[in-house]
C-alpha cells in the first residue's frame, strides 16, 4: 500500500474512513482585499486615464466627422471604381471609429476611474406564504382600484377593443395572397393560339436556328416574347429559363414517348433545379453532367437528366422541341410537369397536366 496523503499535515497515512471529512475543509475566503488601482492612488495617473478617455471620445467625434466628409465631399457623379472604393473605405473607417471610440472610452472610464469596490448582496430566505398573500393583495388592490367589476361598460369595451386589435394584422397577411393556384405549373412555353414559341437567346431574345447549335454548344434560352412583357417579366423568366445543348444523338437514351422531344441531338432542359430552384447551368460538355452550384446535385444529360448525385429528388423537366419551317427551334408544348422544386400542390398539378 502506498502512502495516501491529501496534503493535510494531520493525516497519518491511514486509509480515509467515512465521517472523517465532515469538517469543512474549505472555508469561504470572502471578498479578496480591495486592491487600489494606480488611478486611485496617483492623481497623475488619474489625470492620464481621464485624458485617455477623452482621447477615445475625441476619436469617436473624428470618426463621425470623417464619415460625413467622405459622404458629402466625395462626388460619385461619374466616379471610377477607385473613388468608390476610397469612399467605401472612409465610410467604414469613420463608422468604426465613431462606434468603437464611444464603446472603448466608456469601458476604459469604468475600469480606470469609476469606483471599483466589490459589493455583496445577501440572499434572503424565501417566505412563500407571506409573499403569495402579498401578491394576491396587490392584484386585489388593482382590481378594486380600477373598478373593473363595478363598471361593466369599461370592461366590455376593453374586451371588444382587445379582440378586434389583431384584425389589421390579418388584413395585411391577406396581402401575401392571392394563392398562386396553378401558376407554378405553367410557363410561357405553352403555344399561344396554335403558334409554337421559338427558343431565343438570353438576354437579347434573338431566335436560334437548329444549325447554330454545334456539338458541344450550350445556349441559355428564354421563350420568344419574354423581353416584350411589361409585367411579371422576372417571374415568367424564373419559370421558363432553359438550357439548350447538342450531343451526339447516339449518346441520348430517350424513354418511350420522348423520342421526338429532341432534334438531331439537340435537347432542352429546364434550368431550375428540382431541389430548391437554383439555376442548374454548369454544363460539362464531355461528361454530359449538369451541376447545380448550390448543393452539388448532378444530372446526367444522356439519361434524361436523371439525378446521379446530390439532394435533388427528380430529374430536370425536359422541354419538347422541334424545328419550324424557317429552321428555327420551337417548343412543341409546355413542360409536361411543373418545373422547379416541390410545393404543396405539385402532385395534383402534375396529374392534371398529364391527364
Amino acid at each position: 500500500m502506498g502512502n495516501h496523503s491529501d496534503g493535510s499535515p494531520n493525516h497519518s497515512g491511514t486509509v480515509a474512513t467515512a465521517g472523517q471529512n465532515e469538517v469543512e475543509k474549505f472555508q469561504d475566503p470572502g471578498i479578496p482585499p480591495h486592491r487600489l488601482r494606480l488611478a486611485d492612488t496617483d492623481p497623475k495617473a488619474a489625470k492620464r486615464a481621464e485624458r485617455q478617455v477623452a482621447i477615445l471620445f475625441g476619436a469617436s467625434v473624428l470618426g463621425t466627422l470623417l464619415f460625413l466628409v467622405a459622404y458629402f465631399a466625395i462626388d460619385l457623379g461619374d466616379a471610377s471604381i477607385a473613388t468608390i472604393r476610397l469612399q467605401n473605405a472612409l465610410l467604414g473607417l469613420g463608422t468604426a471609429f465613431a462606434m468603437l471610440g464611444i464603446g472603448t472610452g466608456i469601458v476604459h472610464w469604468a475600469k480606470a476611474l469609476m469606483p471599483d469596490h466589490e459589493v455583496s448582496e445577501e440572499r434572503h430566505a424565501i417566505r412563500t406564504e407571506d409573499d403569495r398573500k402579498a401578491a394576491v393583495r396587490i392584484v386585489d388592490d388593482i382590481v378594486e382600484e380600477t373598478g373593473i367589476k363595478r363598471r361593466p361598460l369599461i370592461r366590455n369595451t376593453l374586451l371588444g377593443a382587445v379582440a378586434l386589435a389583431p384584425l389589421p394584422a390579418l388584413a395585411i397577411f391577406g396581402d401575401l395572397g392571392p394563392r398562386p393556384d396553378n401558376k407554378l405549373a405553367h410557363t410561357m412555353w405553352a403555344p399561344q393560339e396554335g403558334k409554337l414559341k421559338r427558343l431565343t437567346r438570353d438576354p437579347d431574345g434573338t431566335p436560334i436556328k437548329a444549325s447554330d447549335v454545334t456539338i458541344g454548344s450550350a445556349f441559355h434560352v428564354i421563350p420568344e416574347g419574354l423581353n416584350e412583357l411589361h409585367e411579371g417579366k422576372l417571374n415568367e423568366k424564373a419559370k421558363a429559363v432553359v438550357l439548350l445543348m447538342r450531343l451526339d444523338p447516339a449518346s441520348l437514351n430517350p424513354s418511350e414517348g420522348r423520342e421526338d422531344w429532341s432534334y438531331n441531338g439537340i435537347v432542352a432542359y429546364s434550368k431550375i433545379c428540382t431541389h430548391v430552384g437554383c439555376p442548374v447551368a454548369l454544363y460539362e460538355q464531355q461528361t454530359h453532367h449538369l451541376l447545380c452550384p448550390c448543393h452539388q446535385s448532378t444530372f446526367d444529360l444522356t439519361n434524361e437528366c436523371k439525378v446521379i448525385f446530390g439532394p435533388a429528388s427528380r430529374p430536370l423537366p425536359q422541354l419538347p422541341i422541334a424545328v419550324d419551317d424557317e429552321g428555327y427551334l420551337v417548343a412543341t408544348s409546355d413542360f409536361n410537369e411543373p418545373v422547379g422544386p416541390s410545393y404543396w400542390e405539385r402532385d395534383e398539378h402534375e396529374r392534371s397536366i398529364k391527364s
Partner: protein, 262 residues
C-alpha cells in the same frame, strides 16, 4: 544574438514569426509562378510552318493523339479542332498534359510562340476549324456593360460572377480568368476546351466575345469596389474571415472587459 534570444518570449514574438513565415512563403510562391505571356502576332501559316508543325506533332503529341492526329485510346482526334484550339491548349501550357487526370492544368508553356504557331498551322491544315482570332477583336475596347450581361448569362455560373473560378464535379473546375490573355479567353469560347461548352459565333457573336473580354479586363483592372474581396469566393471565404477575425476581436474585447486595471 543575445538580445534576440532575450526577446523570444515577448508577446509579439509569435506574431512577428508568423508574419515572417507568411512573407517568405508568399515571396517564394510569387517567384515560382511567374506567368508566361504568349503572344502570336499573325494568323497566316506558311507551308514551312505546317511542315515544321507536323514534325513537332509527331515527336510530342502523336503518342496520345495518334499519327496524323486521328486520335487514340489516350487522346481525342484533332482533325477539325482548328488553330484556335491548339493555340489555347499549347499556349497556356495545358498541352502536353502533365499526367492523366480529371483536368489538364494551366502551367508554363512547353513550346515557344513559334513552335506553338507551327503546331497550330499543322492541325489547322488537317481540317477546317475555329481560327486564331484577329487583333481587332482583342483590343478590349468593346462595350463592357453588354459584355458583363453576356458574361453573367453564359459564363458566371461556372467561372463565378467575379471571374474567380469555381468547382465542377469529380475534381474538375472552371479556372479563374484573371491574368488570362484576351486571345486565350476568345479561343476558349470558340473551341470549348475540356469540359467547357462551345460558344460558337452563332451563340455569342464575335462582337459579344469582344465585349466579354473588355468586361473581364475592366473588372480585373478596377478591382472590387468594396475593397478586399477575399478571393471573391463568397460565403466560405467571408464566413471564415468573420469566424476567425470577428470572433477573435470579440474574444479580445471580452478579455479586456474582465481584466483588472493596474
Amino acid at each position: 544574438m543575445k538580445a534576440l534570444s532575450q526577446k523570444r518570449r515577448h508577446p509579439l514574438a509569435v506574431i512577428a514569426l508568423l508574419l515572417m513565415g507568411l512573407l517568405v512563403t508568399g515571396g517564394l510562391y510569387a517567384v515560382a509562378t511567374t506567368v508566361n505571356e504568349a503572344k502570336a502576332s499573325t494568323t497566316s501559316f506558311s507551308a514551312n510552318d505546317t511542315a515544321e508543325g507536323e514534325k513537332l506533332f509527331a515527336a510530342n503529341c502523336a503518342t496520345c493523339h495518334g499519327m496524323g492526329a486521328s486520335g487514340s485510346q489516350a487522346g481525342p482526334s484533332l482533325v477539325g479542332v482548328g488553330a484556335a484550339a491548339v493555340d489555347f491548349q499549347v499556349g497556356t501550357g495545358r498541352m502536353p498534359m502533365q499526367m492523366n487526370g480529371p483536368q489538364a492544368y494551366k502551367k508554363p508553356a512547353q513550346f515557344n510562340d513559334e513552335q506553338t504557331h507551327q503546331l497550330s498551322a499543322y492541325v489547322a491544315s488537317l481540317g477546317a476549324g475555329p481560327a486564331i482570332p484577329e487583333e481587332g477583336l482583342l483590343d478590349e475596347k468593346g462595350d463592357a456593360a453588354a459584355g458583363g450581361e453576356l458574361f453573367r448569362v453564359n459564363c458566371a455560373m461556372c467561372h463565378n460572377a467575379a471571374a474567380a473560378g469555381g468547382a465542377l464535379t469529380r475534381g474538375k473546375f472552371a479556372p479563374a480568368l484573371a491574368d488570362v490573355s484576351g486571345k486565350h479567353i476568345y479561343e476558349a469560347m470558340v473551341t470549348g476546351p475540356q469540359n467547357m461548352p462551345v460558344f460558337s459565333d452563332a451563340n455569342v457573336t464575335p462582337e459579344g466575345k469582344r465585349d466579354i473580354i473588355t468586361f473581364l479586363k475592366q473588372i480585373e483592372a478596377n478591382g472590387s469596389p468594396g475593397g478586399a474581396d477575399l478571393g471573391a469566393l463568397g460565403p466560405v471565404a467571408e464566413g471564415l474571415f468573420v469566424w476567425v477575425a470577428g470572433l477573435g476581436v470579440i474574444i479580445a474585447f471580452t478579455i479586456w472587459l474582465t481584466s483588472r486595471t493596474s
